[in-house]
Symmetry: C2
Amino acid sequence: MIWLNGRLRAGGTVDVADRGLLLADGLFETIAVFGGRPFRLADHLARLDRGAALLGLSFDRDRLAAGIAALAATLGGGHGALRATVTRGPGPRGLLPPDQPQPTLLVTAAPWSRQPVGAAISLATVTLRRNDRSPLAQVKSLAALEQILALGEARKAGADDALLLNTAGRVACTAMANLFVVIDGLLVTPPLADGVLPGVMRGLLDATERSLLPADLARADAVFATNSLRLVMPVGRLDGRPLAGGGQAAAALAVIRQAIQAECGCDPLA
Amino acid sequence: MIWLNGRLRAGGTVDVADRGLLLADGLFETIAVFGGRPFRLADHLARLDRGAALLGLSFDRDRLAAGIAALAATLGGGHGALRATVTRGPGPRGLLPPDQPQPTLLVTAAPWSRQPVGAAISLATVTLRRNDRSPLAQVKSLAALEQILALGEARKAGADDALLLNTAGRVACTAMANLFVVIDGLLVTPPLADGVLPGVMRGLLDATERSLLPADLARADAVFATNSLRLVMPVGRLDGRPLAGGGQAAAALAVIRQAIQAECGCDPLA
């Protein structure tokens, strides 16, 4: 079941002139649903709003929110993973948007899996650098091809995910998650200016923002990654070398589980 | 008229699960057709091949070429602008491609206009930097949102196009074209390593590759931009200041017109 431009339906298509397809001209959000309730929906919609402001893209936010609610309701009170996509809709040839865009609004659903939550992952540092000199680094845009390439390079190196450095050589994120380290008892995460997406799970953790170098990961007491579906993942290895363990990833996961309990009325890991 | 996955048709759609739509996982080429004949088609297909190799994307190149020929044939021997798009096709949720991708092959046509050919343009330097630390900078991928943002910023500044610097502050390109300067009688263009797309028109001109700083544009005897549809555009202003004129843009256009005459048997500007 999907929701497309106002209607629930079994499946759907978009026009070949859609700028989302042709030029990655759009945004998306990945939203976990626990017990039938989207988790931190307001945060996801707020991030979408900030991205739309950057792109100069006007869309009917209430209509999209209704679509998210409609598709969440089809999950029968269970868990799921929604993806909300907004494109600038069809347009003529070329980079310039049409004068009166008709955005495409799409919500799709996939099963949510508890299996990767809290499971240790390995990272490989990839050659591709995250562009901290582009405002798109702080926006969840449809232009996700760099992350696909980064993930592919990491998988070829035998790792689960990529460590992405920015153009200054600082730690930015993984291909699919924000990064946190514990150094001298302090929970630290890179600042947005280092080319970091303002992750919704990242926003739930009380951390100090500070630029990190790759060597900081090696000397940290703990390294973990966060995203909206996998919640918290301890990073057990970097470029084949083990990283320090530590209970801080478990503590971060406990914070997020409490927030889920408070907002969605259930514990998806229970 | 479009050509989609093997068939000419009046219009068409792609599945909402297409990775081109969801993740910019694909490539495209913009190909001018003069007198019914695609210009430098082999160069465009070769660039597509290099991009596909980078992405690990296998597609039926002969089938796409047949689609380009079929759509070019609908132009009745006239001029046109074709766009060939290849995506990795539909996939499940997430960044990882499916094991057996079924690529989407699409060719669309638009009118070709002679009006912008040879017409002077103005550039505005934008804040967004071209990511020379990503291999995608040298590939014509679907992730064109940065170019859209750059063009939008330039238009807000009252210019026709953007001057994009790379993360090291060097000149890369405009939002839609390669850049050339004439300095001390030498035709110079930035090297691919500076975050430059290997433009097909760029490949037709005999230029020295050398990194350029913004100040080099101001002191140059001529500055011009090239792309596959507008061919050659003199750059008359940068950030509101006039740039030197010069006959070299006209000379470059003459070279390209001769190549069109030789390959397509016509002069679209005659």
